[in-house]
Assembly symmetry: C2
Homo-oligomer: 198 residues x 2
DNA sequence: TGTACATCAGTGAACGCGCGTTCACTGATGTAC
DNA sequence: TGTACATCAGTGAACGCGCGTTCACTGATGTAC
C-alpha cells in the first residue's frame, strides 16, 4: 500500500472527530461534506471512500460523541461524584463552547428529525449515562429509582444549557445557569454547599 | 385596491402562522421560502413584499410563537395553576406534535445560532413566562426566588421533552416524560398527587 | 537488484437539485375626469 | 354613467450559489518475476 498501515483508519477517525465538533457547533445541516473534509485536511471527493453517505457519518459522529461524553462523565464522577458533573456541566464555558460540550444539549432537537438508525447510538449513550450517574447518586433508593433521578438531572441540565444559549441577555443567561446548578443538585438529593459568595 | 381592506395583513399573518408551525416541526433551516408560501396558498415570489428576508420572518415567527405560548400558559395557569401547566407540557401528545408545541423545546438550540435580533423576542417571552409562572407558584418566597424557580421548571421541561423526542425507544421516552412530571412538580414545590395507577 | 504491474486513499471536475433572492410582469379593482 | 389610468398583492422565470454525490483519474508504494 502507498500509505502506512493504519493510515486510512486514522483519517477515518479524524473525519469523525472533526464532524463531532462541527456538528455540535453549527448543527448537522449547517456542516457541509466539503467544509468538513477541508477542516480535516482533505478534499470532498474522498469522503465516500470512508462513508456511504452523510447520514452514515451522522451516526458515526453520534456514536463517537457518546463515547467521549461517557469518558468525561466517568472522570467527573470519580473526581467528585454527581455534584462535580453538575457543576462542570452548567458552566459559562460549556454554554459558550458547544463544540467540545454535550451532544444532547447541542443536537437533541435536530437529531429527533433524523432516522432511527442515527438515533440508536445516542439512545444507548443516554442509557449508559443514567446507569453511571445512578451508581454515584447518594441515598439507598432502588437502582430503578436512581436511574429515573439521573434522567431527571440530565434532562434538566440539557434544557438549562439550551435556554442559557438561546437567550439574548448575558446576565439572564448566567442567572439561568446558576439556578440550574441549585436545581440539579436538589434533584440529585445533594445538599448545596456554598462555594461562592453570591 | 384590488383586494379588500386588510387583505395583505391577513396574508401576512397567515405566512407567519404557517412559519411558526413549520419551523417547530422541521427546524428553521429545513423550511424553504417556497415550501412555506405554497403551504400558505401562495407562490414564492410574493414573499418579499411581506418580508425583507427569511431572517425577518424568523424573528416574526419567534415573536408570534411567543405570544401564542403565553396565551396558552395563561389558560393553563387559570385552569389549574403551575401543576396544570406541567402536566400538559410533559405529555406524549406534546412530544409527538412539535408543530403545535413549545418553541423553546423545538428550536432553542437552532435559535442560539441565529442573530441577536431574532433572539430578542424569544428572550422577552422567556422572561414573561417566568414572571407569569412565578405569580402562580405556591409558598411565600420573594418574587425573585419564584422567578428563578420558574426558570428551573421551564429549563427542566424543555430538556425533558427534547430527550423524549430524540430517544429511539418509545418505552424509555414515556418513562422520561413521566419522571419529568414528578421532577418539575418537585422543583415547583407541589406535592405530587397520584392521578394514575403506575 | 531491476523492471512491470497492481493497489487504493485521496483528487477535483462535474452532476442535478433546492435554496434565498430578484424582477418584469399580471390583472382585478379603486380613482379621476 | 362611462372611459382611461394608477395601484399593488401576487406570479413565475431566472439568478448565483452551495449542497450531497459520482466518477475518471493520480501517484506513491507494495508485490511479482
Amino acid at each position: 500500500m502507498r500509505y502506512e498501515k493504519g493510515h486510512k483508519e486514522s483519517t477515518h477517525r479524524r473525519i469523525v472527530e472533526t464532524a463531532v465538533a462541527q456538528f455540535r457547533k453549527n448543527g448537522i445541516d449547517n456542516v457541509g461534506v466539503a467544509d468538513l473534509m477541508a477542516e480535516a485536511g482533505l478534499t470532498h471527493g474522498g469522503f465516500y471512500s470512508h462513508f456511504q453517505s452523510k447520514e452514515e457519518l451522522v451516526k458515526a459522529a453520534m456514536d463517537e460523541g457518546g463515547v467521549r461524553s461517557l469518558q468525561r462523565l466517568q472522570t467527573r464522577l470519580q473526581e467528585g461524584g454527581v455534584e462535580c458533573w453538575i457543576r462542570n456541566y452548567l458552566t459559562a464555558s460549556h454554554r459558550d463552547h458547544p463544540e467540545t460540550g454535550c451532544t444532547a444539549a447541542a443536537l437533541s432537537a435536530e437529531l429527533a428529525r433524523h432516522p432511527k438508525s442515527s438515533r440508536n447510538g445516542f439512545t444507548e449513550t443516554v442509557g449508559k449515562i443514567s446507569a453511571l450517574v445512578a451508581e454515584h447518586l447518594p441515598g439507598d433508593k432502588p437502582e430503578a429509582e436512581k436511574r429515573k433521578t439521573a434522567f431527571a438531572i440530565f434532562g434538566s441540565m440539557i434544557g438549562t444549557v439550551q435556554l442559557a444559549r438561546a437567550v439574548d441577555d448575558p446576565t439572564l443567561s448566567d442567572q439561568i445557569l446558576e439556578t440550574g446548578i441549585t436545581t440539579a443538585l436538589a434533584i440529585a438529593g445533594i445538599e448545596a454547599r456554598k462555594t461562592q459568595v453570591s
